[in-house]
């Protein structure tokens, strides 16, 4: 007994020895550092950066009017005046692509926002409360997952009526199950941690536990999923627009541009190729960044 007391170096405040070196920031700074080292992810981020730049400054960047073409200049091949050529109505493809960037960003953000909001809510309810709530929600999610996404989106747009707004809603709904599943899985694992138990012991209500202790610790997989889903959402919305159920002409939406010009694939391949390329690059950008984020947020990959 005495010996233990002797070892004790009293309870005076101990200054942290490594005061100067503990500056290495939290999870987010570390993640950002790791992300910067990943060249492929940086490439993805650059593509997305360009996309956002175009979206914001479209009116200043676009050399021509995206919606009203000059008919006598229709189906012009790429030239100095029209860098990426013109479509069948004489509209500059480059200007339309630049203006389309804003629409794509909108589609990505709004539809993923919808999916995120409802998916997270369902996932938290099902993961945190478990039992029959979990069983109910997850079976619903299973049913939704059983439909091919584009088919389900088609059905929803058909019910709501074709417009860009409804296409976004449809794409959002279609992506809810993925978020619900991922959020549920991470809530399940965070729920069992000691700090959640501790928060119960200090008298937190369920709402406080969910918002202060559970959700902040589930953010990493949610962010990765959101980034990856923006890519697919843009693709799905383009698909709907291509089928005439999304953006209505003359809106310069990339999928709609493909649909408009697909009849002239032989005469004016540029008017089909470049919007397609824009979709591909955008989706690629989000996928690369998403993959990079996943690697950067995974603590097991710490050097």
């Amino acid at each position: 007994m005495k010996t233990i007391k002797d070892i004790n170096t009293t309870i005076t405040p101990q200054p942290l020895v490594d005061d100067k070196f503990t500056k290495s920031g939290g999870l987010w700074q570390d993640t950002f550092k790791r992300l910067k080292k990943n060249n492929i992810a940086v490439f993805g981020a650059i593509i997305i950066g360009i996309l956002f730049f175009c979206a914001i400054f479209a009116p200043f960047l676009a050399p021509h009017d995206p919606e009203n073409g000059i008919l006598k200049d229709r189906q012009q091949p790429p030239s100095e005046k029209y860098l990426l050529g013109t479509d069948s109505q004489g509209r500059d493809v480059l200007s339309r692509i630049i203006h389309g960037a804003g629409i794509s960003v909108q589609i990505g953000v709004i539809s993923v926002g919808i999916a995120l909001l409802f998916g997270t809510t369902l996932g938290v309810l099902s993961g945190y409360y478990g039992r029959w709530i979990d069983v109910g929600i997850m079976r619903l999610v299973d049913i939704m997952l059983a439909f091919p996404t584009i088919l389900l989106a088609l059905a929803i747009v058909t019910i709501l009526g074709p417009s860009l707004k409804n296409a976004m809603i449809a794409v959002g709904i279609v992506n809810i199950p993925r978020f619900a599943r991922i959020v549920r899985a991470s809530v399940l694992s965070v729920k069992e941690t000691e700090y959640v138990e501790a928060s119960k012991a200090i008298g937190c209500t369920d709402v406080q536990i969910i918002f202060r202790h559970v959700l902040p610790n589930c953010l990493a997989p949610i962010i990765v999923q959101a980034t990856l889903t923006i890519g697919t959402a843009i693709l799905e919305a383009a698909g709907l627009s291509f089928l005439g159920l999304g953006a209505q002409p003359p809106m310069p939406e990339w999928g709609a541009m493909l649909a408009d010009s697909r009849g002239y694939l032989r005469q004016a391949p540029w008017s089909v190729m470049y919007p397609g390329l824009a979709i591909m690059l955008t989706v690629l950008g989000f996928n690369l960044l998403g993959d990079g984020l996943r690697d950067a947020l995974d603590p097991r990959l710490k050097e």
Binding site: K5, N8, P13, Q14, L16, E197
Partner: protein, 332 residues
């Protein structure tokens, strides 16, 4: 009523084992199997036993972090086990817990200040200003500095984290603190610091502690009375002096004979138990220690022994205590 702050009566916690999609119960892990004990105001009750014997489960049932299967938990005469969730939430102010793993029990996304202030906010104690002051006070009490409030847990060492945990538990002035192996994840030198901190705090704030541990010397240092658990039951409960000097239950004897003595010349009679701890899913009939007990007799196989007072304030649950005396007189 009486000097007891906490009385546990016939506490049982079974974890059901379910099978198939309809969750048909096929058995139960009998983690805590009918235990009773009480803690006096201001004392420290040590709870020892090997891994998986139900120590932590007992602690968690007392806080209702786990719902007890049956039994009474009387805190100041009020049965906790029957409180609804709202009343229980309010009562949590009086009972706090310090967790085993300081790396897992602190939310990595909250600053130390927020963490320690959280219980105060939850119970609406004080204004923002007084809460901040209280946090700084608490940090000093547990031996950290007030400027640590804006830091995150990952910037601290294990011992410092445990101090944060202690500060958080103390913030609401609890009457009873359940210490769930608070030092087993720490280095030995840090262990001593934290243990002595707990002792000092106990004196200063007249706390009652339920100290769960598997380190017998730590328990000896801090406890007034010690309960020994084996496979979900208490086998012996006594004053620490009596228990450490002359354990009566054969399991306690084996357990205490295993404490290393820092003297290489001293030869010790170690009682080695044979076999493993039986599964708590299917514990042995009768006394659940009879499969490994060196002095088991016929009755041990059929009848559960009861925790009885064999000497003053020395409770043992064994059918064959006379064996000990007989053996001693025999060798004489």
């Amino acid at each position: 009523m009486s000097g007891f702050i906490l009385e546990v009566k016939n506490l049982i916690k079974y974890f059901p084992i379910t099978k198939g999609i309809i969750s048909k119960p096929v058995g139960a892990v009998k983690a805590v199997d009918d235990i009773s004990f009480s803690i006096n105001k201001g004392e420290t009750l040590g709870l020892v036993g090997e891994s998986g014997c139900g120590k932590s489960t007992t602690g968690r049932c007392i806080l209702r972090l786990l719902e007890p299967t049956s039994g009474q938990i009387l805190f100041n005469g009020q049965d906790i086990a029957k409180l609804d969730s709202l009343k229980m939430r309010l009562l949590r102010k009086d009972i706090q817990i310090i967790f085993q793993d300081p790396y897992a029990s602190l939310n990595p996304r909250l600053t130390v200040g927020d963490m320690i202030a959280e219980p105060l906010r939850n119970f609406g104690i004080g204004t923002r200003k007084t809460q901040e002051k209280r946090v700084q006070e608490l940090l000093e009490i547990v031996g950290l500095s007030p400027y640590h409030t804006s830091r995150y847990p990952h910037e601290f060492s294990g011992g410092q984290r445990q101090r944060i945990g202690i500060a958080r538990a103390l913030s609401v002035n609890p009457k009873l603190i359940v210490c769930d192996e608070p030092v087993s994840a720490l280095d030995v030198s840090i262990q001593a610091q934290v243990i002595n901190l707990l002792k000092d705090l106990q004196k200063e704030f007249s706390l009652t502690l339920l100290f769960i541990a598997h380190d017998l010397s730590v328990v000896k240092h801090i406890s007034n009375r010690v309960a020994v658990m084996y496979l979900g039951r208490i086998v012996e409960l006594a004053d620490y002096k009596n228990l450490y000097r002359e354990p009566m239950h054969p399991y306690s004897q084996a357990l205490f004979s295993a404490i290393p003595i820092p003297n290489p010349r001293l030869k010790k009679n170690r009682i080695l138990l044979e076999g493993d701890v039986p599964s708590p899913i299917n514990p042995p009939s009768g006394c659940n220690f009879h499969t490994r007990c060196p002095q088991a007799i016929e009755i041990c196989r059929h009848q559960k022994p009861v925790l009885k007072e064999h000497k003053t304030k020395h409770l043992v649950s064994c059918h064959n205590l006379n064996f000990q005396q007989r053996r001693c007189t025999g060798t004489d």
